[in-house]
Subunit: 340 residues, 2 copies
């Protein structure tokens, strides 16, 4: 259990370190924090805090730096979430008021704005479309045995794919089939589509087993999630001005992380609902540089959900970041209700 004074000192260390990126000494705290205490006293407390694992010393005779445990305590008990600038909230909301935009695009723009506001990098899971529903499936023949298949969902999302038509299937038959799919499966959640189509096919085509198999394969290909969920990344550039990334090797690592995506996927997928602070992800992400991630998992209306994360140095400005993502969550929540 920490005393009131220890908490105050821990808070001061964290906040000063966040601002300066330099180890914080007892002098500095004595001067800048309101406490009427001498450096010596603060030194004693800091020694205790270190022993308890909240602070670390890069080397003897340097100031202190928060440990992961220290950050954790700070975030969980000492953080006063900043109420977000009204200006910013307005800017965020603006992203949603242009209803023309596709969800993907909205998300991309949000990411871009967030990185601009925080000066950190932003990652977002492309929205999962599991629960969106089919509005229309269409084939547009191109004339040389190929066609474009276009699939429109009720969220306004469009998937399209160039397909080779199975030669066994006359264009007449295909047209009938598609008409039937549209008539009978409109409103079906996209996730269940493949299965439903198979059932439909089985019913219609039981006569001709061989063609059935071909056509089944064909739809299977068509509906296979085209390139698994995308990762949206923005603001890589912002990270480069941080002292943590003064070294090009660090930058290279970071770019690799963003290009590769896999480790980020894992972390984002694993993030619990609401705004969460993940401190010290360097191991999980395979980086040498100390980074933290603040995530929020939000729902777009009742159909879609996505996770947005802000990646910064471990000494990132948690107050601002958490505040911003909370505000964003609220906007998402209230936005889902009226229309979509």
């Amino acid at each position: 259990m920490l005393t009131e004074r220890q908490r105050a000192i821990l808070q001061a260390v964290v906040e000063l370190y966040i601002r300066s990126a330099e180890p914080v000494g007892s002098r500095t705290i004595a001067r800048l924090s309101g406490m009427r205490l001498s450096p010596a006293t603060i030194r004693n407390e800091m020694a205790d805090l270190e022993e308890m694992g909240y602070l670390e010393q890069p080397h003897t005779s340097a100031g202190r730096v928060p440990s992961h445990k220290g950050y954790r305590y700070y975030v969980d008990h000492l953080l006063l979430t900043e109420s977000v600038n009204a200006e910013w909230v307005k800017a965020l909301k603006a992203r949603f008021h242009q209803r023309y935009a596709e969800i993907d695009e909205t998300l991309r723009q949000t990411a871009s704005l967030l990185s601009e506001l925080t000066h950190y990098a932003v990652v977002a899971l492309g929205p999962e479309v599991f629960t969106t529903r089919l509005v229309k499936l269409e084939f547009v023949p191109l004339g040389d045995g190929r066609a474009v298949a276009v699939l429109v969902t009720d969220s306004g999302h469009v998937e399209h794919k160039l397909v080779e038509l199975p030669p066994q299937l006359s264009s007449e038959e295909l047209r009938n089939l598609v008409e039937m799919v549209n008539a009978e499966l409109k409103g079906t959640p996209v996730a269940a589509l493949t299965q439903k189509i198979f059932q439909l096919l089985a019913r219609v085509m039981e006569s001709n087993r061989e063609v059935y198999l071909r056509v089944q394969r064909f739809f299977e290909d068509l509906l296979a999630p085209s390139g698994e969920t995308k990762l949206i990344v923005d603001g890589t550039r912002e990270m480069l001005s941080l002292p943590e990334f003064r070294d090009v090797d660090r930058v290279r690592e970071l770019l690799r992380l963003f290009e590769e995506g896999e480790p980020l996927f894992r972390v984002l997928r694993g993030a619990a609902d609401g705004v969460r602070v993940h401190i010290g992800l360097e191991q999980d992400l395979g980086l040498d540089s100390p980074v933290s991630l603040v995530t929020t998992t939000v729902a777009f209306g009742s159909d879609l959900r996505t996770t947005i994360g802000i990646i910064g140095p471990t000494r990132m400005d948690y107050a601002k970041t958490v505040g911003l993502l909370s505000a964003l969550s609220d906007i998402f929540d209230t936005w889902g209700e009226p229309g979509r």
Copy 2:
């Protein structure tokens, strides 16, 4: 006019500098190049080459480095284009044999492969769709006054956009309109589409001036090139291992360039047909780091054209890069003929 020996020396300087990134001294050339000459003789020649502007000295008592003029001469007169690894050609061709893929995707994959092969960054202009033709225009109503407009071209390209339906237009009327567009304008080049639609509208709706204007505005919006041509970028990461980018500031510049796009657009758009070598683009691109660009402008069949460029340090491996892009051009050319 350069003597045979001077050309040999210039070539040696360029090639050694490309390999080592270090200024090249007379000793090195005497040792490594086949010429049976002493360093002293080579020094004399190098002094002459410097006076003629082909070489530069970073400082007295360093070796020589090629000037832009030197590179130019090398590329224009001394370059033996490497015949490309059969393996690579195969890999490139493979990108085109999956006819399912959309052009955009093909291009993206090609860029990715090129950057992997060269270890430089690759930029490509999203293909210009000016000459592709309309195959089908479709509106899929979503039910709350919005609809998805889907436009399919004969190259298999799909554009889609969420639109708000003009309330003055009944869905009945819209359906008729779209049907008419499809019936009458199928095969129209996309570039001419807006104008054609206006003519059609004018003919059909002359009775109701006010609605006409609304609907015109609506189509205008719809067909406005959605977000000007895209820039495809890949392989930024590769650049980071080059000594030219050991400094983070340089990296930051580079990332900004790729994010911003505008200067790159200008250069790529301005590139003449065929394989071209642009030496020393640092001014044009607003960089401090010395970079060159090798471009090729290729046609996809008769309909589309695009420019692909490889950006590397000015001391990039021109032989390899030019060879690779030549091979790519050939593949594009022969590929355009059969099907599409």
